[in-house]
């Protein structure tokens, strides 16, 4: 069982078992960026996980390089090596961040954390216990919802996340709030990008904001 190296993409792919064997070993095939990515994957300082996409994505990083772990055809796995900024760019592309209108007013709406799943699945704010104006505003956003994604990162200084309700009518961030509630706040793509770029710094990797 062997792996295939794509030097141009700094990527190695193969059956999951062969990729696991590669990571358990010390071999560094391919260009310097792939070698650096494999070192990061073998001793990661930080782990990223993206959910809400058709397939969850994972990435492993140290201070110098990272690998994005991608499922490929036939149950195989690809490891795509990248620099820290290359990884952030690939994550932004993966979640499809793009221009959206700004919802006004940009005030947070608080919902019970255990109501969130139903709110998204049913695309309705009718049972979230909101006042009429909030229910209308959030309901209109949910009607045009495109994606609900979350990037989590865990590192030496703990964990952090960026979670977004992405819709044709705007981007809303989802953040923990006191009393087991979540704050849903209209935002903009630049602010979301700034938050994604700041993720490594929040967990002890990369420059502080």
């Amino acid at each position: 069982m062997s792996v295939v190296v794509d030097p141009g993409r700094a990527e190695v792919r193969g059956p999951a078992q062969a990729i696991r064997a590669l990571l358990d070993g010390t071999e560094e095939p391919g260009p310097p960026l792939l070698a650096a990515g494999l070192r990061a994957a073998r001793s990661p300082l930080v782990r990223f996980r993206v959910t809400g996409l058709p397939q969850a994505l994972e990435a492993l990083a140290d201070a110098h390089a990272a690998v994005l772990v991608l499922p490929v055809e036939d149950g195989g796995t690809a490891l795509r090596a990248c620099t820290p900024s290359g990884l952030l760019g690939l994550l932004v592309r993966a979640v499809g961040l793009c221009p959206r209108p700004r919802a006004r007013p940009a005030e947070p709406i608080l919902v019970a954390a255990d109501a969130m799943a139903a709110l998204v699945n049913e695309r309705s704010a009718a049972h979230a216990g909101l006042d009429e104006a909030q229910e209308t505003l959030l309901g209109e956003h949910l009607d045009a919802l495109v994606a609900h994604w979350r990037i989590e990162v865990h590192g030496p200084d703990g964990g952090w996340y960026v979670e977004v309700l992405d819709g044709e009518r705007g981007l809303w961030t989802v953040e923990d709030a006191p009393d087991r509630r979540l704050a849903l706040t209209p935002s903009g793509a630049t602010a979301v990008l700034d938050e994604i770029a700041a993720l490594p710094g929040h967990v002890g990797l990369g420059p502080p904001a």
Binding site: A10, C82, T83, L88, G89, L90, C98, P99, G201
Partner: protein, 134 residues
């Protein structure tokens, strides 16, 4: 000749370098520089005539944001584009475009995405002080 001025705020160099496309780039001051795929800083460009349209993006470029803004006392359009150099680097181009004095002005804040949390507030603050003269 079109001229401009801004307060470098101790963040970018006062003296610019002229780039191939005619833009003037005020690089980050030495003590703030870090390794990266791009020369971080603020660039300014003036072209004759009003803006026709925003240039089409290439396959390695992602348009992240577009919104109306104001700069140098004039209505402007702010865009944010990521340029992806494979997995090697991602460069941020945050641009403000405005028409003033019969010229089309473009002010750009540039930096590596991994350094953006540290760079963006200062570069945006520098651009906010921009003044242009016909």
């Amino acid at each position: 000749m079109a001229t401009y001025r801004f307060d470098p705020l101790g963040i970018v160099e006062t003296e610019p370098v002229v780039l191939d496309d005619g833009s003037t780039l005020h690089e980050l001051v030495h003590e703030l520089r870090a390794p990266g795929a791009s020369r971080a800083g603020v660039s300014v460009r003036a072209d004759p005539g009003p803006e026709a349209s925003v240039a089409a993006l290439g396959p390695d470029e992602l348009l992240i944001d577009v919104e109306p803004a104001e700069l140098a006392g004039a209505p402007a359009v702010r865009t944010l584009v990521l340029v992806q150099l494979g997995g090697v680097a991602t460069v941020v181009l945050e641009q403000w475009r405005l028409d003033a004095g019969g010229r089309r002005w473009t002010a750009t804040a540039t930096g590596d995405l991994a350094l953006w949390p540290r760079l963006a507030p200062g570069l945006r603050a520098v651009i906010a002080t921009l003044e242009v003269e016909p």
